[in-house]
């Protein structure tokens, strides 16, 4: 049996990711829970997240999710962070003014268009781009990793976000995506893999990434 814990801290839709995991095999058992002992007893952990970072961080701290994730990583247990789950791992976020995050990965979370001063995001031809970055965009793999197995480089995944992570350690970057500028769309560190896109909503490529996660021993 392959036991997967999806961390439930009261934010967003956990149904999609658990259903997607369950579709991948009869031996996959998914539990959505906020119970630390149950999460840490699982074979692997998914740290999801949608919504605004301030509310997410408040619940993450209230339920002690920060300790759970730290303990799991210390034990080299595979952890997959998705979207705001990924952003929560950084040191801080520009969203909601300024929000301190978990600091498990070095770097910050920035808003698309924030660098121009007027909030407008432009493409290389000077054309205005919509924010949120919503839809299917290409993911350029920047390092070999077990989670990329069977996924073609530059495959499209589904994104929906207005903020992106800016790691200060370039060696953590497992993938990049272009939207106005190049940003890190996946980060990797030990038994942690974090993605800005939604694998559970990215059809074949996304399901393949989840399949790879289920088979992963936590070593890069």
């Amino acid at each position: 049996m392959n036991n997967v814990a999806v961390i439930d801290y009261g934010m967003g839709n956990l149904h999609s990711v658990s259903k997607a995991m369950e579709s991948l095999g009869d031996d996959v058992r998914v539990e959505i829970t906020s119970d630390a002992s149950r999460i840490l007893a699982a074979d692997r952990i998914i740290f999801p997240g949608v919504g605004a970072i301030r509310d997410c961080m408040a619940e993450i701290r209230r339920l002690g999710v920060d300790d759970i994730v730290s303990q799991a990583l210390a034990a080299s247990k595979p952890v997959l962070a998705i979207c705001v789950g990924m952003q929560a791992l950084m040191e801080s976020s520009e969203e909601n003014g300024h929000v301190e995050c978990l600091g498990l990965l070095p770097g910050t979370v920035k808003r698309f268009g924030g660098e121009t001063g007027n909030g407008v995001l432009l493409d290389v031809d000077g054309k205005r781009l919509k924010v949120p970055h919503m839809g299917w965009n290409q993911v350029q793999q920047r390092q070999a990793h077990p989670l990329w197995q069977g996924i073609e480089d530059n495959s499209r995944f589904y994104f929906v976000h207005s903020y992106f992570v800016a790691p200060t350690d370039a060696s953590l970057c497992a993938a990049t995506t272009d939207y106005g500028h190049t940003f890190a769309s996946a980060l990797s560190k030990g038994s942690l893999f974090a993605v800005q896109f939604h694998p559970e909503k990215s059809q074949h490529s996304g399901l393949q990434l989840l399949r790879n996660f289920l088979a992963w021993d936590g070593r890069a």
Binding site: G12, N13, H15, S16, K19, A20, E22, S23, V50, G51, A52, G119, V120, D123, R128, L129, K130, V131, P132, H133, M134, G135, W136, N137, Q138, N154, R156, Y158, F159, V160, H161, S162, D178, Y179, H198, E200, K201, S202, Q203, G206, L207
Partner: protein, 257 residues
Amino acid sequence: MALAKRIIPCLDCDKGRVVKGVKFEDIRDAGDPVEISRRYSDAGADEITFLDITASSEGRETTVQTVEAIAGQVFIPLTVGGGIRTLEDIRTMLNAGADKVSINTAAVVNPEFVREAAARFGSQCIVVAVDAKKVSEAGEPGRWEIFTHGGRKPTGLDAIEWVKRMVSYGAGEILLTSMDRDGTKIGFDLALNRAVSDAVDVPVIASGGVGELQHLVDGVLEGGADAVLAASIFHFGEYTIPQAKQYMAEHGIEMRL
């Protein structure tokens, strides 16, 4: 290297059945939204929009079960619209597996609802659906008014001002339907689309009037749409989703092929 424009087939459902009718070659049960959603997903649809036109509360229960069933088998984004009036309605649909909800009449009745919904669930899952009708005379600059109740009830709200307001309240996407074009098959109201797309930063989905593939291209290139929604051209088998995507790509539009 760019974000792809999206094609979104729309299913109108009543008590858990697709009602506008769908013609696929070898589906016997043509009205099953789960089967149809899976077909569209397999064909390369970028998202699915499920529009619940059920009025009764028993029917709503069926709708929730249908959304659960679709979300359990179709791993692309799913938007659910129709009758979303309370934060509880949104919670129910998101828990059932919807990724976004589309709010129409409730936003007009109580605009603050959109602000509360975005604050609670995040802008990424709040789509505001807008039904607009042209009210300017020929020769005048374009002016459109918002209508509710399937285009029967005027609101006095200017469409452009309205979408700006909804985005400032936290709407993450606009689903824009031209009441003048809906069902006509003569193409989108491109002037309306362009005006709305230029007025807001969030993505705009064009809807209403698609009869041929060139209309989809026009919606993106001339109307500035980020996504195109269509029902009948796909349901009745006039065109397949791969044909539509190929056609759009051949006209220089970035697509997920």
